[in-house]
Amino acid sequence: MYLKEIVLENFKSFGNRIRIPFLPGFTVITGPNGSGKSNIIDAILFILGVRSPKMMRAGKLTDLIYKGAKEANYCKVSLIFDNSSREIPINSDEIILTRKIRMAPLPNNPDNYYSYFYINGKSASLNEFVELLSSANISPNCIVQQGDVTAIVEMGDVQRRKIIDEIA
């Protein structure tokens, strides 16, 4: 199983629709400061079910929507996994996980938004998402964010032991 493609639509600095295909093995993403590298990582976290916008450097979830010359009122991210090895118990060679946030301002709540999850195009809940990913052992623990590389050493001993608790 591997990540075949990421599709970003109006997500943070990716103000258009962009497809990023991946191959197995070792891929490096590089580029100047502020070009969007960590934003791609945030898009992966977005699909992995991270709920707190702060983890993706956003004040609120709607801050993930591209803000710039052309305004968008929604953002959408899809992760496409190769499932030929059936690591995910769905009878499909390809698993597409899509999450969408759409602004829906209300008179009493201008920050209101709607949140959507799709598995292979069918509506799903966040829980179904997370369950599916954990059946393949995919979780935010697969991700080390910028600046966090020494977090393991800097955290308290009890917090570190709890990492082992979760695995056991």
Binding site: D157, R160, R161
Partner: protein, 160 residues
Amino acid sequence: KIETFYRVFESINENFKKIYKELADGEGELILENPENPFEGGLMIKVRPSGKRALHLNALSGGEKSLASLAFIFALQAYEPSPFYVLDEIDMFLDEKNAEKVAKVISEKAKEAQFIVVSLRRITLKHAHHIYGVTINKGISTLIGNVNLQEVEKIVDKIR
């Protein structure tokens, strides 16, 4: 329940010792504060970089802390593998020699799992199987796909 914990802990500890040796050429191990009842204590990391005495984790340098952290992360991965790992600038504290060691370890582990790594370091790019460049123009990010190292060196010599 304690038995399950110990089975997992011993295996991860073995991985940690092996991987830390490979990365830092030093001795490292995980130690339970309360071996009789692990859940009443924490998990300590003890490392001794080569040629030095083991000191408090806190006394380690930025690069030494990075290697210890990465050895732990890779040890967890060896116990319960995931299909992919995403690492953002894990080489920021590393000198050239250590950045290359980490890149080689990742390149080897990439036979078993997919690694997507953000890096500004020439030495890390040198060991990549595939390279993407990201640029931004008028506030919109775009991707330069599947660049080879020579093309990247034009960006990278401007990047880092």
